[in-house]
């Protein structure tokens, strides 16, 4: 039986995709971090295709991309939790998230998963989540969005 006072994590990397689940994930993690004084790192990765150089000025110029981290920071602030926002450009989102979590020594990685279906009705998990689940060195929480009218 686990000790009720043992924090669930001490350093969490939260991967944000700019979707509706971002705020929910931040609230979930910030609520826990507030009590355990754990460190929270929010990572948003912009995927750069191979036609452009990796350091192309894409994410820095985009207000929409910046907003993803800013809103997360604001939600965390409501819980009196300081959030370290990290904006990355990479060829592969999953690899960048896992590498960032590894480099930061995170003991928890949290990712959101939109509820989507492929043509034909089969649930689509995409390729990022399976990559993270297979490669992340720490615990991984996947928070799936609720089903909506459109997605069902």
């Amino acid at each position: 039986m686990s000790d009720a006072h043992t924090p669930i994590f001490q350093r969490a990397v939260v991967a944000l995709n700019g979707g509706p689940s971002d705020a929910r994930i931040i609230r979930l993690i910030a609520d826990e971090a507030r009590h355990s004084k754990a460190e929270v790192i929010a990572v948003h990765v912009v995927e750069i295709d191979w036609t452009l150089p990796l350091d192309a000025d894409i994410a820095g110029r985009s207000e929409e991309v910046q907003r993803v981290l800013d809103i997360a920071e604001s939600v965390a602030e409501d819980y009196k939790v300081r959030l370290d926002p990290v904006l990355l450009q990479a060829r592969d989102v999953g690899a960048a998230i896992v590498d960032e979590a590894t480099e930061r020594g995170a003991d928890l990685l949290v990712v959101g998963l939109p509820f989507r279906k492929r043509f034909g009705g089969e649930f689509a998990i995409g390729r990022t989540i399976p990559y993270i689940l297979q490669n992340a060195p720490c615990a991984v929480w996947v928070v799936r969005d609720p089903m909506t009218e459109e997605s069902t």
Binding site: L54, A59, Q66, D70, S74, L87, A90, R91, D92, A95
Partner: protein, 684 residues
């Protein structure tokens, strides 16, 4: 950064806006605290001092956390009303004394009658809290249901009353201290200044903090006063009352006044001071935690019940113990009641005396909350300068707080700390408001016809009649003692507010952009005039800015020295080719006049068939680094800016040159200079 696999490289993207701003929506930035950080050392020092005295700045989002619980709100908004239980009984007794000892027992019935009036008024204000949850009390009720002018009369009367409350209650508290420490008389102005300053600072620190500071003394007074009533009742019921004989009691008159309706009305009017401050909660509904209206209404009820119990209870104790008002400087009725209950000189007696002095100081605090809120609502409606609606660093209405403190202290200082002369003014304003708000509520219910509107209207109509009667009695009793000042001050304030409103309305209509107007790019021609004091880097920078505005540019040099002007012309034409220099000789050594005249000449020379051009007057300025440098530089530029302000078709542009701009300047003009040098000194 390299990942685990060769292809897993990632790049961290800088976020330069992040320390200062946050993107919260498309095209929407929210400033962070760093954006407000002072840039200069002196600015940072001022900010540190401000943070130490007033607390760290609060963001607008934190406003909800600053709201008051019912417990704190009761202490903040009710200290004025509750403190009046310390002297209301005495006011009744002083009137009834004129009819002899047998009339004193009537004080209990008078206090019960006033408590019934209090019940009606508070019931009515409960309805105001629910019907007008945005606050504003009598002003909003009268403005909405009667006419704007009645709202303004109510507001003016209330504003005057709040100032009086601060001045009078501070003076009363000092008098209370004087009765224990007579030497305090010599430093009464200093005590007044310190107490008002402390209350001002506490209020500038924000609602929640002032609630924390002021709750303890208020509840201490309430607790001890209830204990006096409880002990008194115990002795009354047990038949163990020992009447108190007061050595310096006011003697009965030789010729008693007959006990009649006039005397009772006088006593009623005197005791009605107990009702002052009752309206403060209705003014400050938005200061409560949600649900604001419900919490405000319940606090109103709690306050009325507490005040009613204390007032009737203390009067009952005073009657049963045979307490009589004393000559000036003697103990008050509540002090005598405390003596009877706790024993003179006992720790509880001393604690009660201290808490009475404190609650009288804190009666001022109610005004510090109500006055700025009312001023803010008036400012939002355009009846007071807009600054009054701005919230300061701690979300308090700083302008209103500071103005109230300044006027109240000014009054105390002008009257030498003795505000007896102001007391007749006190309470007249409150009853003007009570009457207007109740009449307004009668019309409100007639129009709205919500459920139970008939009994609600009946309550308000009864209240209106009762408060109107009290108003007439108070005015007739106190008119020649100074209440006539209200007749002068209220219309003056109303006229001032109407004037401000007209001014704002006029400017708003002048500035309004019609909703159906589609703004097209400007088609007027532009020209640039750069007044120059010589040829400096600041001038070059100003001319370059001017060139980016229009090709029609000229520099103007005003001088009383033709030789200097000729020398400058030679340099200017060589170093800034393509920009004509106009030299205006000024034999009377003036600067502003000749420049304005030159601009007029330019206007007159403009082809009459073309629309007037916009003239950009680009003024070069050297940025001072410290306060003393500001004295040394830019004095002419300031004079020019002032003179040109409001000139038709003229835009004044100040172009600052900072010492730090040297590199920028070199980069901008260095190319040409290098070319010149290169021509002179060709490389080997």
């Amino acid at each position: 950064m390299q990942g685990r696999k060769p292809a897993d490289r990632r790049v961290r993207v800088e976020r330069p806006h992040a320390p200062y701003f946050r993107y919260m929506g498309p095209g929407q930035l929210v400033a962070k605290p760093a954006a407000n950080r002072a840039l200069t050392p002196s600015g940072r020092l001022v900010n540190r001092i401000r943070a130490a005295v007033f607390g760290r700045p609060l963001s607008t989002e934190e406003e909800i956390g600053e709201r008051l619980t019912k417990t704190k709100a009761l202490a903040i908004f009710s200290s004025d009303a509750i403190s009046s239980s310390a002297y209301a009984t005495e006011e009744i007794l002083r009137v009834l004394l004129l009819a002899g000892a047998s009339a004193l027992f009537l004080s209990l019935w008078v206090s019960i009658a006033i408590t019934i009036l209090l019940a009606v008024v508070s019931l009515s204000y409960r309805q105001v809290c629910r019907a007008y949850p945005n606050g504003g009390g009598a002003y909003i009720v009268a403005r909405t249901n009667l006419a704007p002018i009645f709202g303004l009369i109510a507001a003016a009367a209330l504003l005057i009353d709040y100032v009086m409350t601060v001045a009078v209650s501070t003076a009363a508290a000092i008098a209370q201290i004087q009765s224990v420490v007579p030497q305090a008389y010599d430093v009464r102005i200093e005590i007044a200044f310190i107490s008002i300053t402390l209350i001002t600072i506490a209020n500038l620190r924000g609602l929640r903090e002032s609630g924390n500071i002021f709750a303890v003394p208020t509840y201490l007074f309430v607790g001890l006063a209830l204990a006096i009533v409880g002990i008194g009742l115990f002795h009354i019921v047990g038949g163990t009352v020992v009447p108190v004989t007061t050595a310096d009691a006011v003697p009965f008159p030789n010729h008693f006044e007959p006990i009649g309706i006039l005397l009772l009305l006088k006593a009623f009017a005197g005791g009605s001071v107990a009702l002052t401050g009752v309206e403060a909660i209705a003014n400050g509904v938005p200061a409560f935690k949600p649900p604001e209206a419900k919490n405000a209404a319940n606090t109103m009820t709690a306050m009325a019940i507490l005040l009613g119990i204390l007032f009737v209870g203390l009067t009952l104790v005073a009657v049963q113990y045979g307490l009589r008002p004393t000559e000036a400087g003697g103990p008050s009725i509540v002090a005598l009641a405390a003596q009877a209950a706790f024993g003179g000189g006992s720790p509880l007696f001393v604690a009660f005396a201290a808490s009475t002095a404190l609650i009288l100081f804190l009666a001022a605090n109610t005004s510090f909350n109500a006055f700025p809120r009312l001023a803010a609502i008036l400012a939002e409606d355009g009846y007071m300068p807009r600054q009054f609606s701005f919230r300061g660093d701690r979300l308090a209405y700083s302008w209103g707080i500071v103005l109230l403190a300044a006027i109240a202290f000014g009054l105390l200082w002008a009257f030498g700390g003795d505000t007896h002369a102001l007391i007749p003014l006190y309470s007249v304003g409150v009853f003007v408001c009570f009457t207007l708000s109740q009449i307004g509520m009668v019309r409100h219910w007639r129009r709205e016809r919500d459920s139970g509107w008939r009994w609600r209207m009946a309550v308000n109509a009864t209240g209106a009649v009762l408060t109107a009667v009290v108003l007439l009695v108070v005015v007739s009793e106190k008119f020649f003692n100074g209440a006539y000042l209200v007749v002068i001050l209220v219309p003056t304030l109303v006229a001032m507010m109407v004037f401000i409103n007209r001014q704002y309305s006029r400017s708003a209509s002048e500035l309004a952009v019609a909703p159906d107007m589609v703004v097209r790019p400007p088609h007027r021609e532009e020209r640039v005039v750069v007044p120059i004091p010589g040829l400096t880097r600041a001038v070059v920078q100003a001319i370059n800015v001017g060139r980016s505005v229009s090709e029609d540019i000229r520099a103007v040099y005003i001088s009383d020295d033709p030789e200097a002007a000729a020398k400058l012309r030679a340099e200017f034409e060589r170093q800034i080719p393509g920009v004509p220099l106009v030299v205006v000789e000024s034999p009377y050594r003036t600067l502003v006049g000749p420049l304005l005249a030159y601009l007029d000449v330019l206007d007159a020379a403009w082809p009459p068939d073309k629309p007037d051009p916009i003239t950009f007057v680009v003024i070069p300025e050297y940025v001072a680094r410290s306060w003393w440098e500001r004295i040394l530089y830019n004095q002419s530029a300031k004079r020019l800016r002032t003179a040109l302000l409001g000139r038709p078709h003229t835009v004044v542009v100040a172009v600052p040159y900072r010492r730090e701009d040297t590199a920028l300047f070199e980069a901008a003009v260095g190319g040409e200079r290098s070319a010149e040098r290169a021509a002179k000194d060709p490389p080997d």
